[in-house]
């Protein structure tokens, strides 16, 4: 699923016909049919209805290197995921480069084959520059197939949504400032 909010029409004919530049790519990880792994998709259902201009939301399931290579140059990324290593229901927002350090206790659950820092690191190497962005994660406890969100993670969804909103706004502002030189 992909959704993007276009810029509102402007009086200037040239700018009105030009698509909004993508400022922030929001990557939703996890699976709604695996208990707390559905936390990010649950947040996406709320976020998808109110995306600000220049923000795209993509449901990626398991984060793949290609997902990060698809981020347009100049745009930032917010990765939203459930994680182990956190108290269930606790929401954290970290710069991506904080996860590139070995030993970081927050471990997203959605990347089966490679560790999250490896996925990010490989994408950065191939892109040739660091990826600007944050991971917003919620501590999760139950990943059973067919299960619903656990009580604590379900109760944390509003906080997760709010943390994603804050991350989007920070990065969107930053992207705009960079675009304006």
């Amino acid at each position: 699923m992909t959704s993007q909010r276009a810029d509102a029409p402007r009086a200037d004919a040239e700018t009105a016909s030009r698509p909004s530049p993508l400022l922030v790519d929001v990557l939703i990880c996890g699976s709604p049919d695996r208990g707390d792994d559905g936390a990010a998709p649950a947040a996406a259902r709320i976020l998808g209805a109110e995306l600000p201009n220049g923000v795209r939301l993509r449901i990626v399931g398991q984060l793949d290197i290609d997902d990060l290579l698809d981020i347009p140059t100049g745009a930032a990324v917010v990765v939203v995921d459930a994680a182990t290593g956190l108290r269930p229901g606790r929401v954290v927002s970290l710069p991506l480069d904080r996860l590139s350090v070995s030993g970081q206790p927050v471990r997203p659950r959605s990347s089966h084959a490679l560790a999250f820092p490896e996925v990010v690191g490989l994408a950065e190497l191939i892109r040739g520059h660091p990826i600007r962005g944050r991971i917003v994660a919620v501590g999760a406890v139950d990943f059973a197939l067919g299960g619903a969100l656990s009580e604590r993670v379900g109760a944390a969804i509003p906080a997760l949504v709010e943390a994603v909103r804050v991350a989007i706004e920070q990065l969107r502002t930053d992207s705009r400032a960079r675009a304006q030189g």
Partner: protein, 458 residues
Amino acid sequence: MPTVGPRASAPTDRSPEMHDTDTTVTSNGDLAVDIAGLTRVEGEGSLRLKVKDGVVEQARLEIFEAPRYFERLVVGRTPDEVIDIVARICGICPVAYQMTAVHAFEHGLGIEIDPAVRALRRLLYCGEWIESHALHVYLLHLPDFLGYASALELARDERVTVEAGLSLKKAGNRIVELIGGRAIHPVSVQVGGFSRSFRRSEIAVLREPLTAALEVALQTVELVAGLDTPRFERAGRLVALRHPSEYPMNEGRIVSSDGLDLASTDWRHEFSEQQVGWSNALQSRDHAGRPYLLGPMARITLSGEHLHPTAASALARTGLAGEIAVNPYRSIVARAVELVDATAEALDLIEAYEPPADPGRPWTPGPASAAWATEAPRGLIFHAYELDDRGLVAHAQIVPPTSQNQAAIEADLAAFAPSVLHLPREAATLRIEQLIRSYDPCISCATHFLDLSVEAVR
């Protein structure tokens, strides 16, 4: 792709970042490796290995998958629901689970599919093989041979090499995404065919990336054939499907290196699953209690003459066919040869593709006994289902390759461990982990995350 070689300091300098290594090797020939498990949905694993006075006291591979969970989950479901559910068992090889289930149901219900549907399914399976093998060869296994702790470290020094692997993986992804409907957990396969047909022009878009991928796959064989490989000869039984005219994938008879030959529906005539005390996963053995090994080594050994001519030539150039049959460390070569095979075959299928006249044949639900085996990227996978009078699943058995390989891996670890006693601690650990990674991508990715802890042997 440039030639790559091991780091000057390989392989003993890689452990500090990868693990807090706590393997113990003493001067009197004792070795204790305790690799604790990692939380992982598809392939949680750990290793406990103890060698005392040069004698292996314990070699246990613990894998915490939950096949019974899915087997219970599909009860009461229709065959088409089962096909979607079993795809969720693994993020790396969902097609294998789908293919095995759909073939089982169609065989049990007497449904004949359009030949073009068969070709499309084989193409879809080729996509998964390419994706899975590229991932394993380049991102999980190659770093071991070159002395790197991870694919990321390897990429820092050998970016072009890793990019080549990623391009191969992407080519496989494109096949699965197009035909399966999405790259992970595809949704288009259904009993009787596919949920939709494909025009020639849709399939043709795969030609260009696969043509490029074939070149990379051929270079991959050269690359991995030149890797310095530990010497090890296992003596165990190899088992794979064998087809009269094709390299085994969707169908064939179950054969072994010691003369077994039975229908793919009859896996239970020779093998059974057993509970062991140290693992949540069932282990499969033959009825005599013997372990057996599945996967690329077995397939090439038992069906090598049916490799695509391009892959057969690549294998011949390596001169390693004989060693592939006995040395698990050479499985990386076997996988590379199968990368060539799957890519070349995919191109042939694309060239010959004609849209199926009947992409989804109608069928009538009803009672049936359904069973089938196919070849997942990491080995033979068997499914059996009982359908009740309403056509709903009353009983299911799903036997993944990982659980079948467990006992063989433990036997091989026990045979190999004494040979690393003379090595420094970290090198010994690396060799053991490298051996585990030789068998199975799910276990391999788990072991990349495992923490090692000391257990002194007294």
